[in-house]
């Protein structure tokens, strides 16, 4: 039975511009003693996922729902007080991004590591300090460090202190949110070695959040690629690093310059999408070089180019499409081309089909046109209804209509 099982975990924030769909119905599983790496760029929702798991919510939460089975309890159903006592820190803890810089500069680090113990357990400070020292040793720090102040420690040592803080209550699952982002390469390697060792020795499970694919390979038993609040691909290291299925994963892999590789890195065109109103259908489709018919284009994506092409065509002599006047978007899934009269519309139908077929070879979005029909003096183009391929994830490991047997 998996240690943690998430089903349709959702977290939306309320903002002036509308609800931000930071985490949008993601599902995953972590077995005991393994690491799930959540990889994605900034704004993809990976840190919000950590907040959702640990119920660290800001004031402007719009939606927070889903199922979180930890061992055999649905921890989403616990009250805030129960969650605080039973889950947070004692069963699941977290190493925040940049935590080493958030250590209290006026307190000895030993006391800071002891704090969770003193809050959760009814023990005296002296007892707690014993536990603190043993935890510090486990992360490779000698005992005297407990009496030092943060500014007396190096970056690597501070990060070890923060890891000790996360481990002091002996949790089963630790969320690591970019634990090495502010550290030097050498120190990073040391910390990763430490984390590996701790996992083996103590049977810890990790959720390892990072944007660095190379770094994720240090710990990952399973990798989840996040994009625009969704999980778009989940797989084993071999699958993800060597045979990724989702175009985003592949482009992510080839966008990072590699030290031991001679491939020229390729940037991913475009930018991350707006999480208030993400693209329809597959959220990655505007940037995807393989996007085709079902991926999510809507009338407003097509209208300008279509109009340009038709106007250009109108100007050519001997064009079979006659009497074209204007193109309008009637709804998200429907465009109407206006002609001079019914006859012109009827006679333009077949030439138009050919023109669209030819255009589809040059410009993929046209491929979303599903049906044409003549209605009086209009030709109505109906587009394929955009469908989010996320439903494909559990079955295929990646949410993309390109997958064999997945296309509609």
């Amino acid at each position: 039975m998996p240690l943690l099982r998430a089903r349709d975990l959702t977290l939306h924030y309320r903002t002036k511009k509308g609800p931000v769909r930071a985490v949008d119905s993601i599902s995953f599983e972590i077995e005991k003693g393994t690491t799930l790496a959540l990889v994605g760029e900034s704004g993809c929702g990976k840190t919000s996922t950590a907040s959702a798991i640990l119920r660290i919510l800001p004031r402007n939460v719009d939606r927070y729902e889903g199922e979180l089975q930890f061992r055999d309890t649905d921890i989403m159903k616990l009250s805030d007080e129960e969650f605080r006592k039973q889950v947070r820190w004692s069963s699941i803890s977290i190493v925040f991004q940049g935590a080493m810089n958030a250590l209290n500069p006026t307190t000895q680090v030993g006391s800071q590591v002891a704090e969770p113990l003193l809050i959760h357990k009814d023990i005296k400070k002296l007892e707690a300090m014993d536990e603190v020292v043993s935890t510090l040793r486990r992360v490779g720090l000698p005992e005297y460090i407990a009496r030092r102040y943060p500014h007396e420690l190096s970056g690597g040592m501070k990060q070890r202190v923060v890891i000790a803080m996360a481990l002091v209550m002996k949790p089963d699952l630790v969320i690591l949110d970019e634990p090495t982002s502010a550290l030097d390469v050498m120190t990073q390697a040391n910390i990763m070695n430490l984390l590996k060792e701790l996992q083996v020795r103590q049977g810890l499970s990790y959720i390892f959040i990072t944007h660095d694919l190379g770094l994720s390979s240090e710990l990952a038993d399973k990798i989840g690629i996040m994009y625009a609040g969704q999980l778009v691909e989940v797989g084993s290291p071999d699958e993800i690093y060597r045979q990724a299925q989702h175009p985003y994963t592949r482009m992510l892999m080839s966008s990072a310059p590699r030290l031991r590789d001679e491939e020229t890195p390729q940037a991913i065109p475009g930018g991350p999408p707006n999480l208030v109103s993400p693209p329809r259908g597959c959220r990655f489709h505007p940037r995807c070089p393989y996007a085709f018919k079902p991926c999510g284009w809507i009338a407003s994506d097509l209208i300008d180019r279509l109009r340009d092409e038709l106007i250009a065509d109108r100007g050519t002599d001997g064009s079979p499409i006659r009497g074209f006047r204007e193109v309008k978007a009637q709804s998200e899934g429907q465009l109407a081309l206006e002609f001079e009269d019914g006859a012109a519309a009827k006679s333009a139908l077949h030439p138009l089909e050919s023109m669209l077929a030819e255009l589809a070879g040059r410009w993929a979005p046209i491929g979303s046109v599903d049906r044409l029909s003549v209605e009086n003096r209009w030709i109505v183009l109906r587009l394929t209804k955009p469908q989010d391929p996320v439903t494909l994830l559990p079955a295929h490991g990646a949410s993309c209509w390109l997958l064999e047997g997945a296309a509609t």
Partner: protein, 371 residues
């Protein structure tokens, strides 16, 4: 009815390749007048092709406040010698505390060297005064690291780009506006007109860095120090900025000093790599040579520490260096790296500072034992 053709994965859609260098537009990028230095100092004997020559450069910062006088110094850069050729990119790679950022700032004469010489295009600029350096400020520029503070948040993009022109009183109002638009085009912020009125907070991190690059280009410099320009950007954006810099280097024949801690990006954007440790240059050479056959034990350790996405990483511990980088006020004796070096030889490495030796064509290493 349109056929539901599914493209083959791997069949890349043709897109504008940002890496493709656009052809030179008719008029060559505005006349780069090499303004002669005002002090009229003669060119150095045997004028080299190097645009910048760094000789035994030292940058030491005194420790202690206003009222305490001590003889202790933080030796941020401690005796660095190399040359930057025209139209080349040299990457200076090191960890924090290695002195690479201080080196970058000193080369631009934002700091006055404590010792050694700096010669830019034949002119000794080591101790020139602020006023005497205005000509240098036109021919050298910098690109900062943090997209959130690299450009003035209170200025519009137009104003940000016009400032260098205003400082050097270049052109009249129309000419400046024209240059601003061209600078935006060359950093691929299209359409340029839509960007000039925007403020930095309306732009993404990548776009802001492009504005910083445009600002660095607008005076047609010959030498640019790029101080970790992409390390705070997302992985997928880094490549596009670095590719842009490569394109610009080709097009405008600019020399770059690319300061970074990331060997992988240094590999992508540089002709030569210099490795710094504790204020000293420990290895210098062509990219392929240094990364293909690293000779200095520190370089080797650095490369070992960086993971590529490899499923095998999961199960093995990475070999790392013990200890920490040294204290720059009281560095170790002899070779600064010897306390952490796996092959250090007692009696030699802890006594004598290793000089830079050319162990292979154009491949220099500061190590007694490397070969």
């Amino acid at each position: 009815m349109t056929s539901a053709s599914r493209p083959e994965p791997g069949q890349m859609w043709k897109r504008d390749d940002p890496a493709a260098a656009p052809g030179d537009d008719g008029n060559s990028s505005s006349v780069r007048d090499t303004v002669p230095p005002e002090d009229g100092s003669p060119e150095a004997e045997g004028a080299s092709t190097a645009i910048l020559s760094v000789e035994a450069l030292r940058m030491w910062f005194p420790v202690g406040g206003f009222l305490t006088r001590r003889d202790a110094f933080v030796k941020a850069v401690d005796g660095v010698t190399f040359r930057v050729e025209r139209k080349e990119t040299i990457a200076v790679v090191g960890e924090s505390g290695s002195g690479k950022t201080t080196l970058g700032r000193t080369l631009l004469r934002l700091l006055e060297p404590t010792d050694g010489r700096l010669i830019f295009d034949g002119t000794d600029i080591t101790h020139a005064t602020r006023k005497d350096l205005m000509w240098l400020r036109r021919r050298t520029q910098m690109i900062p690291q943090d997209p959130y503070s690299s450009v003035n948040p209170v200025f519009s993009v137009q104003r940000i780009l016009e400032e260098p022109l205003a400082v050097h009183r270049v052109g009249n109002h129309e000419e400046r506006a024209e240059r601003v638009l061209r600078a935006l085009e060359s950093v691929k912020l299209d359409p340029a007109e839509s960007f000039i009125g925007k403020f930095p907070h309306m732009l993404s991190g990548g776009q802001r860095q492009r504005v910083a690059v445009a600002r660095a280009l607008i005076l047609d410099p010959e030498f640019i120090v790029a101080d970790e320009p992409v390390s705070m950007l997302d992985a997928s954006v880094r490549v596009s900025i670095l590719t842009l810099l490569r394109t610009l280097q080709e097009r405008f024949r600019i020399s770059f000093l690319y300061v970074t801690h990331d060997l992988a990006t240094a590999k992508y954007f540089s002709d030569r790599i210099g490795i710094m440790y504790a204020g000293k240059l420990v290895e210098l050479g062509p990219v392929g040579a240094v990364l293909g056959r690293p000779l200095h034990p520190y370089t080797q350790a650095l490369m070992e520490a960086i993971p590529d996405p490899d499923p095998a990483n999961r199960t093995r511990a990475r070999t790392t260096l013990p200890g920490e980088p040294p204290n720059l006020v009281t560095p170790p004796s002899g070779c600064y790296f010897h306390p952490r070096c796996p092959i250090a030889k007692a009696g030699l490495c802890d006594q004598v500072e290793p000089p830079l030796r050319e162990l292979a064509p154009a491949h220099w290493v500061a190590c007694h034992l490397a070969e």
